[in-house]
Amino acid sequence: MAAAIFAAAVARPSARLGPLAVEAPDEDAFTLAVAAAEALPVLPGGGAPSRLDLVGDFGPSAEWGIPEALGWRDTAVHTSSGGPAHLFEAIRGHGREAAERTRIVLAVDRSGIGRGRGIAHGALAVALAIGPGTGIQVDHVAAHVRSPSEPPQPLRPEHLGGRPSGDPVALLLIGDDERLVAAAREAGGLGFAPSVVPKAPPGTGPAPTTPYALALRASDPETAVHPFVLGALGADRDVYVRGRVTGTVAWSESAPAPTMVLSAPPAPDEPQALDARSEGAYVPRARYLENLPSRWRLEADWCPGCGRWTFPVRGACSGCGDSEHLERRPLSRRDWKVEAATIVRPGAQPTEFDGTVALSGAYGVVIARSPEGPRGTFQVAGPAAPIELGTAVTTVLRRLYPMEGEWRYGRKALVVKSPA
């Protein structure tokens, strides 16, 4: 049985800079990738995927951080730079295992304004779940590198591994420039029905790779686009993909975030800013890493002896002290209820959060109770606003602050609805 994309999810940045969707100060490619992956429906069997392909630049800690955040610790991780060829190669996969096991492809783009100065904005992350069964199937990927002075390659059957069989066949092209239209005409010579997919989905900001994944959305079985050819013309390479739609794909979006309106692009990550050192109370890197199971994955220990939860985990039951029979269980990442709330005003923040306050002012902090019982303390993502007790929040992985050469990440609360 061939492998197909059976579920997909998108995470968009939550801030706005003029008409552009851009990353909030506490978002980056890593947090958006985790958000997209968490928005995926539960994998078959509830387990971790056998392989995770990271396509694009997710930042320095992604290769271990993304599997850590998602709890996919036995998953083989493969990385590649961005671009449609890598994306579709990852989707297609290789060998028997690629066809028989569940895999995840995470793609991200960070590009756009100020790029020449190293500032990245407009990230968009897409998570694709691939496994045996029906959905969107990628059969063939062809990429042609050429000099920027050469015209795009006219589409020929050999680019697609032979003439596609079956009718109708749609050619989906990304972008809206003249070359695409010409290529579509050329393709029309093969008897396809060409259509052009907008380059950047509205509200996402510029993003060169993920629209190719989003373009797959256009190949909805409802529109009877079955065998399809997807073409992308880049500055120095053309990519053509042949595939088929054999079933429905469940698309989902990560939880909508409150919009933060920025007046200027956030500053790029300066090495000296990341190199912050604490002079007093803080969490050294060793403690930070030790706490990641609870901090990132909300893992708690449940004690079968006394029935008590211990969160955050600390190797022993906080009730009876048992350390041998504890059952490690992840708490729900959604539907926490706020039991106490405050807004920390500028000047009352720990010094680690001086940068947060300088960029976005006051922030909220809540203590919320999980559906399972344990409580947690979370900063609130997005602009500070009063939160009524009883409000339901979901949790999202975000940047907390830079320390000792890296960003520290943790879960923040995101308000999803007011109390009934």
Binding site: A340, T342, V344, T351, E352, R375
Partner: protein, 370 residues
């Protein structure tokens, strides 16, 4: 030039010896306990030796006690137990903190030392935020009016006016408290204790040793202490400090009197909400009732149960590791009828209450006129 930690220690210890009515030679001190956080890293881990030098107590052993804001409360308890056990006849207990000479960023680092740095601090909380969370919950559970929190500050500032050792000698009204800039909602600037320098020295002696030294000793009638989870999220309640309840129960079990005969309370009002929590947890008001008591004037200096007649941490100031000892000082002067214009008439017994962190530790000490 501001006084440094050594000068603060020397001043307080000298004053303690001077206050002994019939005088006492320093060589009689057999052991000392020093409560200090070591704010800003001053003499970190080595403050005991500095106390021995400045107190001029020879080679008597000094133990440093660090239990956050309750350091001096626990030092006092350690000193009292050294005497109760029969091991020592005379003990010196000192509380010390020097906070004002650190720049603001250093203060904010150090003020977080005593909290849950791994979870609460990473969520962006300092103590103002932690107590604000408790206040939000208390307001939700009991309908506690914001005016009651403001009244705590108004009352304690009024009391501070009469205390020459208070940091603030400034009367404020409820409108000012309510209009003050917010620090962590619902708490504003005037709901928060200040950054303070201070040292307090207490001389403890076995009863038969104390009698020849003074005609008006004050007895430590009972001590108690308690602990709780460091982080608020892990406690059973966010509107009640179990450590305080445990400490109070223990202290009253050891004393020969009950709550009805206590003349006034010195409680740990680092934030206004903390005074309401303390009155309830110490057993002087039912849960949710301290606000009403405060608004009705029961806790005013001339009320039925005065609370923080010295101005409390709010107006007297909160030199972290010294505050527990300063509360004992107030009990001492009040019960000896030597509190001057802030003297409460007819008091025979007093309670002091010192909290570490946001309630992770607490001490309660009961005092009685002899």
């Amino acid at each position: 030039m501001p006084e440094g930690p050594r000068a603060l220690l020397r001043t307080a210890v000298d004053a303690a010896f001077t206050s002994v009515d019939r005088g006492m030679d320093r060589s009689r001190v057999e052991e000392a306990f020093l409560g200090t956080l070591g704010f800003s890293g001053w003499q970190l881990g080595n403050a005991s030796a500095v106390l021995a030098e400045e107190a001029r107590i020879g080679h008597a052993p000094v133990t440093r006690v660090e239990n956050a804001c309750a350091s001096a409360g626990f030092a006092l308890r350690a000193g009292a137990r050294a005497i109760e056990s029969g091991e020592r006849d005379v003990v010196l207990v000192v509380g010390l903190e020097k906070m004002s000479d650190s720049p603001s960023p250093h203060r904010r680092y150090w003020l977080g030392v005593s909290g849950d740095t791994e979870w609460e601090r990473l969520a962006g909380l300092t103590f103002a935020g932690v107590y604000a969370l408790m206040a939000s919950r208390h307001i939700a559970e009991y309908g506690t009016p914001r005016e009651a929190l403001a009244e705590v500050a108004v009352k304690n500032h009024a009391n501070g006016l009469l205390n020459p050792n208070a940091q603030f000698h400034k009367a404020i009204d409820r409108a000012q408290v309510l209009a003050a800039p917010r620090v962590a909602d619902p708490l504003g600037l005037l709901d928060c204790c200040p950054v303070t320098d201070g040292a307090v020295a207490l001389l403890l002696a076995a009863e038969e040793v104390a009698k020849p030294l003074t005609d008006t000793p004050v007895a430590i009638a009972g001590t108690g202490a308690g602990s709780d989870a460091l982080a608020l999220q892990e406690r059973d309640s966010m509107t009640s400090l179990a450590a305080t309840r445990h400490a109070a129960d223990e202290a009253f079990r050891r004393a020969s009197f009950d709550r009805s005969t206590v003349g006034f309370l010195e409680v740990h009002d680092c934030f206004t909400i903390a005074e309401l929590l303390a009155i309830e947890d110490l057993g002087f008001a039912a849960p949710g009732e301290a606000a009403r008591m405060t608004l009705e004037g029961v806790t005013a200096r001339n009320g039925r149960l005065p609370v923080n007649p010295d101005g409390g941490l709010k107006a007297k100031g909160h030199p972290i590791g010294a505050s527990g000892a300063s509360q004992a000082y107030e009990a001492f002067v009040q019960l000896r009828t030597s509190a001057g214009p802030r003297q409460i008439s007819g008091v025979e017994r007093a309670l002091t209450h010192n909290v570490g962190g946001s309630g992770a530790s607490a001490t309660v000490t009961l005092f009685e006129r002899v």
